[in-house]
């Protein structure tokens, strides 16, 4: 998929662990792992909003586009 998720980079920058973020956002660690590994088919605006709020960043910091 040409959309990439840079969540792990942001987590490292903010020095937050996956399980902590999952707890703050209110999703399971399994779902967060699906998101991090790029297996997710879609992301809800509400989840994106919660992640951006928790990591104090913009959606573009988490999501990127690369051509196939």
């Amino acid at each position: 998929m040409p959309i990439i998720v840079n969540l792990d980079i942001m987590l490292e920058k903010r020095n937050i662990k996956s399980n902590e973020l999952a707890e703050i956002v209110g999703i399971t660690t399994a779902n967060l792992s699906i998101l991090k590994t790029g297996k997710a088919k879609a992301i809800r605006f509400s989840t994106l909003e919660a992640i951006c709020k928790a990591l104090d960043c913009q959606p573009a910091d988490i999501l990127g586009y690369i051509e196939d």
């Binding site: 999703i27 779902n31 967060l32 699906i34 297996k39 997710a40 088919k41 879609a42 992301i43 809800r44």
Partner: protein
């Protein structure tokens, strides 16, 4: 899910009652093929009464019996599908595959039943009958196609479910 358990009970009952007929039918097919002593013995199957056993009527009878065996196989597959439904495995690959299989076999059974009946009525009863309405041929054909469509619907639903599961 109460309706499902009622349906499962009815299908299981039908299966148990019809199960002894399968070996009897298989033995009878052998009799029809190899034994000529059945001549004059009236046999009625699906509204067709066969009295004389020439090659054509034997072929018709065997085709009708094969159609019945196929129907039994469809019931067996349907039982399997219902078992998956009761385990809440609605969009399993086995369910999709079996629904499509049931559809295909029902269409085959409809033709195996409809065509010989039509030929028999023309050749032996000298009458051309075209039944419009709820004749077994049309019903079986419709059910067969319905099961195939249902299989396609389940395939689409499975894809939608996968998408939904992977939406975070």
């Amino acid at each position: 899910m109460r309706k499902l358990s009622i349906l499962k009970a009815i299908v299981d009952f039908f299966w148990i009652v019809s199960l002894p007929l399968i070996p009897i039918l298989l033995i009878f097919i052998g009799f029809v093929i190899f034994d000529n002593s059945l001549d004059g013995f009236p046999i009625k199957m699906n509204g067709i009464e066969i009295k004389s056993f020439d090659r054509l009527s034997k072929a018709i009878l065997i085709t009708l019996m094969c159609s019945y065996l196929i129907l039994m196989y469809c019931v067996f597959l349907f039982k399997k599908v219902l078992r998956y439904f009761s385990k809440i495995n609605l969009f399993d690959n086995v369910v999709i595959y079996n629904l499509n299989n049931i559809g295909i076999w029902l269409v085959v059974a409809a033709f195996l039943q409809g065509v010989p009946t039509f030929i028999y009525k023309i050749l032996y009863k000298q009458k051309l009958e075209l039944e419009i309405g709820f004749s077994s041929f049309l019903i079986m054909l419709c059910f067969g196609l319905f099961f195939m469509v249902l299989s396609e619907v389940f395939k689409v639903a499975k894809f939608a479910k996968q998408e939904n599961d992977l939406t975070i």
